[in-house]
Symmetry: D3
């Protein structure tokens, strides 16, 4: 991919107007209250994967509407005192897979929880959490971008973002986790969710949104048509009379609106050739982000961003944050 978006000098100052519904905060307050009306009921069941350096738990907690959500938790073996914790959210289409997928952060000496994504987990890594109730009890091949999109109440991401807030609470509830030092992270969709949590959960110490998705939808669908943003294009292409309804719904779930509410320190990343999450949508969120912040720019990268080069940056950032 060539550099199809604005040049870097323009990206660095790109701060587009946001579209924020008047009842944004009310909507989310009501949503989280409803979820918290259910007991969290976090269960940590030891799981055997042959790992000798880490303890692993198969986690279940109650997310949106009290529905059971799966996760993995890992902590270095033999740990006695409380540790800082990294909570990770997963990219679009993926599931929690097996713990082998997530060894880096716990091997660096932190507690770690990765949350399964409801309904997803059938495209590039398997998941175990269905979207709704038992009557449709398996993850599936997407799309999810347009599920329930005709109203903020029914939109898929209302459920998923609520799960994510509850996942942080789950991690914090673990006896070996220091609840004051919880950091959220994730790539792509996981980055978008991290932003949402940073905006919704003031307790979070830091956020590391990596090539974040779910930001500035209107521009995204104008400059690219690749998936997953392309699912919105497809929907509006067919439902020509529902365009404004769609973007009204999305305004409740736009990373820009979460960014202006965030207080946590943040480390972003962006690929200048990212045709899945175009750089202008990432910088739009970054430039609106209200907390202390840094961004790493990967000039020759598409949606993969900095990969392990960026992981090194994140590990250095955590060392500073946690010390």
């Amino acid at each position: 991919m060539s550099q199809f978006d604005f040049p870097l000098s323009e990206l660095e100052v790109y701060k587009p107007e946001r579209t924020e519904p008047a009842d944004f905060d009310a909507f989310w307050q009501k949503t989280l209250e409803a979820a918290r009306a259910f007991p969290l009921d976090a269960r940590f069941v030891p799981a055997e994967f042959g790992l000798e350096t880490l303890d692993v738990w198969d986690v279940t907690f109650n997310g949106y509407a009290g529905q059971p959500i799966k996760a993995w938790m890992m902590i270095p073996k033999g740990q006695k005192s409380k540790l800082p914790c990294v909570v990770e959210f997963i990219g679009y289409g993926g599931g929690r897979s097996f713990p082998y997928h997530w060894l880096s952060f716990p091997s660096c000496g932190y507690a770690y929880l990765v949350m399964d994504t409801r309904g997803q987990g059938s495209v590039w890594s398997h998941g175990d959490t269905p979207d709704m109730d038992d009557s449709t009890s398996s993850p599936q091949v997407p799309g999810f971008m347009t599920r329930g999109i005709l109203s903020p109440e029914t939109y898929y991401y209302r459920r998923l973002m609520t799960d994510a807030v509850r996942a942080v609470e789950t991690a914090a509830s673990h006896p070996l986790v220091d609840a004051d030092r919880v950091v959220v992270t994730g790539g792509s969709q996981g980055g978008g969710i991290s932003l949402a949590v940073a905006g919704l959960a003031p307790s979070v110490l830091a956020a590391m949104p990596d090539v974040p998705f779910l930001c500035h939808y209107r521009r995204a669908v104008q400059i690219i048509d690749s998936y997953p943003y392309g699912e919105i294009v497809k929907f509006c292409h067919t439902h020509r009379d529902k365009v404004e309804t769609v973007f009204h719904t999305l305004s409740y779930f736009d990373g820009l609106n979460f960014a202006v509410r965030a207080k946590a320190k943040a480390l972003f990343s962006v690929g200048l050739r990212d045709e899945t999450c175009p750089p202008s949508t990432v910088f739009a969120a970054y430039n609106h982000y209200a907390g202390e912040k840094e961004i790493r720019v990967y000039e020759f990268n598409n949606h993969e961003g900095g990969e392990l080069f960026h992981l090194r940056q994140q590990i250095a950032f955590l060392k500073t944050i946690f010390s």
Copy 2:
């Protein structure tokens, strides 16, 4: 597309073994009984689309779990006595659109009902019926092939096929429809649904499955990987430990198992270069079909099959059936 499947001479005798679960009939009896426990409650509301030669109704009836399903009904204007009726089901990803899409059969002098497809209707024509309840109240961009696929009870097509049986009952309930002369039809997914209805609803006079989908899944996923069958491939590719579960579920929804139960006269069609619904999967259903039957073969066609050439065949077939 070249002719990638068996040559025609082999297709004509291709009758593979079926995989039929022991409780196939019980499963469907239980399923339909549960749906019929809800009142059908078919409502026909006149709709204005500027059509001068036809009466149009916006139809709602109760399908699976009593959920409201939309449809269009059309009848030649000024009709006083009962007419034979064609009931149509829609291809994958499409919705009921506007009545203009469906003028051929009613303009030939028949009553006509086209059923919206729950959840679909966001890819190539718009629909108005969500899959489940109000909490996810909009159609969405697919996929649907793997929704709830880990159990026959939760599988998406259980709901859709049940809706289809109820759609036939809805059409038959209209005062201007002759309930003894109802024919089902549809292309691709609509053809697969027609087969299911032919197997489940003995009252149907004839079936016209056009390049039918939803037949002989195991072979389909071996010889092609295009969508929608490819969604099953994708699911099994990720959930390597769920392959047998998936095919067990599918055995309750395989056109071959409906075909052996069908009594209605049938007119099939097939494209010899069809890479969406490969010809061997269509002939597998045709050769197992228990009723009187004919098939039209389109040698140079892919999934579009015979298009209006085949419509002429269908209109001739209906003339014979109804006379």
Copy 3:
């Protein structure tokens, strides 16, 4: 497709300079006079397609050079008095197919004629009219964009646009047609032809060019290279010494030059992501259009434009025009 052309705000005022040859009017006057020197000789032969709500005629009339051109005509059954009439032209590569393809306008209570496209009708719907004389007597797989392009006299579209003017005269000659209320329409190539007829046939009451093709060739070939405009690119790519000759020829057939001569009321449509007929070429024609005009903009659509959503707009427009 993303929004690759100008943003909407610029499109709305985009009115590029036209390239008009000095003898444009003389060329077309001479061309039409030569065609009219042949008798029109419109023949209407009843055709049987099983339609109960409409009368159908297989039409033949004499077009360019007196060559026989095919069409279908349909009128609601039992009609006694004169009706307004819609004349439709077909998109690139298509033929008149069977009447089932064209039921919407006649079912709305109007007379309707759809003209076959000489030589075309082998790509997406079949046609029955060869381009030239009997010695090459079948439609063929295109391209047509460069046939005879080295001179306006020999260019393919000279013949086709002349046919179209004669098609309007054919429709007007029918005893059940009100010759003062003839409207032309069509999508893509059919839209371009509608514009040409609006410029050449002052008798036409209104025009509904839908995502029109054949407009502002020079820009079209700069911003896209997809077919059919791409055939011109291919020709110039090979015949590097013929570029100016080619664009001189095309200036006699450019929708912009027809648009400035048009008097009929017009309803245009455009897809903002149309990569076959880019929006700037459509707005270039629209902004130059001399008659009263409206345009419907489909923000999320490619060349399919508004489809049945736009048909509803057209039906509403016709109701106003004809009342």
Copy 4:
């Protein structure tokens, strides 16, 4: 491309049944007699291209229906006595270009004539000969495979193959050409035409069909759908009721039917991964070829075949033939 056709051992004995119309010879006798009723009228006009080692002439002769056909002729400079001559026909979509394109054979010391292809010459090299008369006076972007295909009388290749026979007569008429030592050659379409000439013109000493096209159409369209054979697929795909008519026409132009009539020595070539002219269609012609013959097999090549490696083979073959 992988090896998608039969393995070599089967290809070497693949000799499918031919479909030959009863009046094949009568058709061609009548066709050639009609063409020869026009005077050949070969004109050789010296042309300036800066070449110092060769004389170049811009050639015009009368082909099918006496229409003027262009060619280039080249002979080593300073030649006094008669030379053997190579006559070449061009691949699909190409035109005679400039003489630089054709230097190999004349630089080897032979007279050489390359015939322009009527109507083609707009895709990969430019041509100067229109298909029909002045009223459509420019070459164009194809397709040609379906032009006039509904009857052998009107089919495009009737005209082109007749031109080719006349091109041989043109070459033979030149004072520096030894009419008893004329060889025909060409790649792809040029190879197919060479075969036709070998079957129609007994005077030809040898033929070198290189990866020949226009052979065994029925199999070609079954195993590939790439262009140009794919144009036939496209036509039959649309005109579902014309399939038998199409293949009846093609039987008059099938290389297999020319091959059984050929007497000239032949050097064929074939690429085992050729997806434009599949190897089984080439071997079908080769195995039916009635004259003395050899074939060079290029195992790792697609339609480019042996390229200059094969040219070396041809030059060696000519040395033997002409000595």
Copy 5:
């Protein structure tokens, strides 16, 4: 990808004839002796990556021609006694990246060494080892499949496979490694290298070739043309006179010839839809493998094979092997 290769029942018994040069063993004995004439000189330099559960060393040893080869070594922290060791080789185009990429095996409690691939490491993960000497001192974008392919002496894989044998010796030389319990593994190219090492280094306890590449070249290039096997196709396509030379060279590096010499216990994997390393090439190696062996078949997978599902199998296999 659909199932394009033999069906599973045929694959399970597919044992094609091998092509083995008479001096195969002599060639490799000479090659390894020459490499061992250089001191191994394995250096283990502690490296800081923030990992708290593992010790990490940046390794350099002398490979082919005594050239310095890079690797990472990892061992669970605080280890005092000797451990079994896994040595891994990397897939085509990749380099050793950062240690985060390779945490699974050491986290399971084993010593672990991953060898950088000379010259590669610029496509999907970065490497640090050039192919030859300092004069071309950086890894590069491939291809490598044809480097020096005109002779076994100069072929790239002679160097790489020799490095791999030396890597095993390097691992075994570490004070915390139990030299009698070294296992080799790797995916794709890494799997092919594992097979080579199993054939060349009798000291190896077990091999886990995962979807192995570099097996049965002749069949591979016939049924697929994707990269990297496609680089051989490309070479032969251009160098039509070098085909036999190429396959002679490859016979010294064919996994089938290593397989018949192997004694180590083996766990293979294969994807039935693998279009990079087709299943018949994998089964050809497996069926010829002389040691005790098992294979895991992934029916719905392409070249990714079993991924973490297969890792679980490998971890279980290691537990058995090492106990």
Copy 6:
């Protein structure tokens, strides 16, 4: 390809800042001196290809590091006195092939030498010269763009450009060549090499860089990602920490830096839709070119540029230059 780069009016004045290392001239002086420390040792061996109008020699001379480089030389037969000479360099991936490929210039009456490209010659025409020494003695499938790219000393193009300077010296050493009238030319990579030679070898009379490659790398990799420039993208994409090193190396090999040093008359060409060597990179070199210059613009062409139309321009240019 559409016109994706700047419009022509902007291209004509596009003269971006150059990045030139301080020791550019010193680097090249040192490089050429080192090469010239080896004897040129040009050998001309008569070669037999059946050509009757030209003498052909198989040429070997010593290039970079004294390594043997192959070439073909051709001169019109029977020549006695010295001739002007054209020296040609080959496009990326190609080799010297057979002499038939290169007949145009010698057939115009000039001496002609075409240099083989070290290491290349396996993609579209075969070559005979390996990159380095005998230990990797065959050309290979690319890429070459990143070979040794981490330092100017080791970069592949240092070797190739040095060869090219020596090729000119080789041609000039032939007894039938007039050393004062040597012209360099080539397309794409051959055009880039021509520019380098024009900057490095003051003796050259003229240069004809055709759609030149190897110019203004930084912009090239921003606006396209196609190969071969895309190999640099791929390298930087993986080696995120080496981006500045890469562009530092490239600055020694940038056509812009050669252009400002050139004195020879020049004829450039450019395709306005060239997505391999984008027009702005070509105009950047052209506008910086210090000698007398002309450029031919091909508006509708991609990387093929003017092809034989441009050859006619070159032949006319040579006639002027040499007279």
